[in-house]
Amino acid sequence: MSILVNKDTRLVVQGITGKTGTFHTLQCIDYGTNVVAGVTPGKGGQLWEGKVPVCNTVDEAVKQHGANVSVIYVPPAFAADSILEAIEAEIPLVICITEGVPVRDMSEVRRRLYFHNTKTRLIGPNCPGIITPGECKIGIMPGYIHKPGRVGVVSRSGTLTYEAVWQLTQRGHGQSTCIGIGGDPINGTSQLDAVRMLNEDPDTDAIIMIGEIGGSAEEEACAYIKEHVKKPVAGFIAGASAPKGRTMGHAGAIVSASGAGTAEAKFAAMEDAGVSIARNPSEIADALLKIYKG
């Protein structure tokens, strides 16, 4: 079992008729995800690929098709608007795959998520999505590398997550849920949020946390792990060799001029929290299996 998404998930795809939306939605349906509706304003009433009804608004998708999770593939200029629409439609979980969302837009979205009556958790933007192997895949990750099991994975990076998952699967260890929280400086779900959910999930026995330089999300998660997490945790941080002041591909991956957000500080926080550290990305699964036998 799992957190956030499972076989009961009823997915609506915002931006379903676009090239990216179409390609990945077909893959998700192949994996077994229950896609109940799509949203493309102005194309309401059509049937996408002959099988999924298209709505004009997210509200319609909720009321007419019972959608309870949304995934967003719209271009960056419209991403914040799509997220806000999903929040107002009271969708409990919104996953924004879109890369390149202006950070000012995200600061407004994050404000909206703080409202006392907000019912939505946002994952992303700029993330690969979330998968509960064998049940539900939402996003752009390759499904077949995963295997159902009891290790939870949270990561700021897409391909690094695939590396870790693939290592686990090849060593015979499946995953409960894998969450890509995204590489942007302002996102909806933090490392801490994800670690807490995995810690509280009775079907997750061990956790892998993959971070990057920049910000303090890993340090905050480590403070929580030190206090509250009894499950085995392994971790890796990318960017030890990155120069200060340069943004390394992900907008959030930057060591500030003052030296905040270094890999060194994050590894130290992991060490302090008793996290089993992988010093290179090939050893992420092994770092976990040193302290977790499954």
Partner: protein, 396 residues
């Protein structure tokens, strides 16, 4: 995206922030015109490069100082002749320095006190943060470290925006009184509006000065914009100075490749930003030195891979290449074909190690083996890093 001081000051002026009268120049004729617009009196001559520490910098020919306060037009002309087209090395440029292609000439003013004022995006609270200090004119990170109590921090909610009481709060904390509180409120209001309107990530006035005549004005300014929002601001796009960017990075951006030049000798080509960083890390951990960060993205095609090889090889320091791809939805055999085609297209004269993992990896490896391209396929990332570091080191 960063802009020059003179561009930042023009923007500030549009938003009602007082700045000293000034003129920019890119050649000797413009230098003369600029100087003639200013009085035959104290003039400040400022080298325009996208790096801090200009005042304490040294030019490669030994001339000291990228910011000079001079007594008259003649001295201004002399300083300009030393600076223009000369290379300035500062604490932030690296040892190679930056060629000065624009100068900025401004009136000097009588300074009574220097303050610091900035608005930045604060990641932790996901809000804008006003940062101010009575200790202006120096490195704010040093102030933050030595005397954190002197740093005034006021968060601004993106939905409420900047209010009058925010302005008053900062003004009083900086010790302003009477007319200066109003002046400061106008400056902060303009600064915030510019920050918000233009999707800035940072606007910084350091120093904001109080003159002996009691006027507040911005003596230096730094602005950087959110690259993700730049498409909404054609006026800001025009301020981009390609001279300040690495030509390889400019070329890469044309092909939608995220490339950052570094100073090592092992080039990498990777899909995904996190994996690209991790690949650099592992090269370093085996005693090698990465020549670049390069993320070819999740759906890289043959054209992009070809462009990536060309960009990598245009760096004369590169003595070896490590390609590290995790084939997900983009399958390994497709990627392998792209690499082979690109490698045949581009004359690769340095060792090339390719590590593929993921979907259809065996088919991918077979394509690499049978391609006839001189490359070493690697079974794991550790092995790939070991091999490329060894090959580059043995080549000397």
């Amino acid at each position: 995206m960063n802009i020059h001081e003179y561009q930042a000051k023009r923007l500030l002026q549009e938003y009602g922030v007082p700045v000293p009268r000034g003129y920019a120049a890119t050649n000797s004729r413009e230098v003369e015109t600029a100087i003639s617009h200013l009085g035959d009196d104290m003039i400040v001559v400022k080298a325009q490069i996208h790096a801090g520490g200009r005042g304490k910098g040294t030019f490669t020919d030994g001339y000291k100082g990228g910011v000079k306060v001079v007594k008259n037009r003649e001295e201004a002309l002399d300083a300009a002749n030393h600076m223009l087209d000369n290379t300035l090395v500062t604490a932030q440029t690296g040892p190679e320095g930056r060629k000065v292609q624009t100068l900025y000439f401004t009136e000097a003013c009588d300074i009574e006190h220097e303050y610091y004022l900035a608005i930045v995006l604060d990641r932790e609270t996901a809000q804008s943060m006003i940062i101010a200090s009575t200790e202006g004119g120096m490195d704010i990170e040093a102030v933050a470290e030595a005397t954190p109590e002197k740093l005034i921090r006021v968060p601004i909610s993106p939905t409420m925006g900047l209010r009058h009481y925010h302005c008053r709060r900062v003004a009083f904390a900086l010790g302003f009184e009477g007319e200066q509180v109003k002046q400061f409120a106008r400056i902060l209001t303009g600064l915030y509006k510019m920050y918000w309107d233009k999707n800035a990530m940072l606007v910084e006035i350091n120093p904001l000065v109080k003159t002996k005549q009691g006027q507040l004005m911005a003596l230096d300014a730094k602005v950087s914009f959110d690259g993700n929002a730049i498409f909404q601001h054609p006026d800001i796009q025009q301020l981009r100075d390609l001279n300040e960017e690495d030509p390889k990075e400019i070329e890469a951006s044309k092909h939608n490749l995220a490339y950052i030049a570094l100073d090592g000798n092992i080039a990498c080509m990777v899909n995904g930003a996190g994996l690209a960083m991790a690949t650099m890390d592992i090269i370093q951990s085996f005693g090698g030195s990465p020549a670049n960060f390069l993320d070819v993205g999740g759906g890289a095609n043959e054209d992009q891979v070809t462009a990536a090889f060309k960009i990598i090889l245009s760096d004369p320091n590169v003595k070896g290449i490590l390609v590290n791809i995790f084939g997900g939805i983009m399958k390994c055999d497709v990627i392998a074909r792209g690499i082979v085609a690109a490698a045949k297209n581009v004359d690769i004269t340095v060792p090339l190690v390719v590590r593929l993992e993921g979907t259809n990896v065996e088919a991918g490896k077979q394509i690499l083996r049978e391609s006839g391209v001189a490359l070493t396929p690697a079974d794991s990332l550790v092995q790939a890093a070991e091999v490329i570091v060894a090959q580059v080191n043995s080549a000397g």
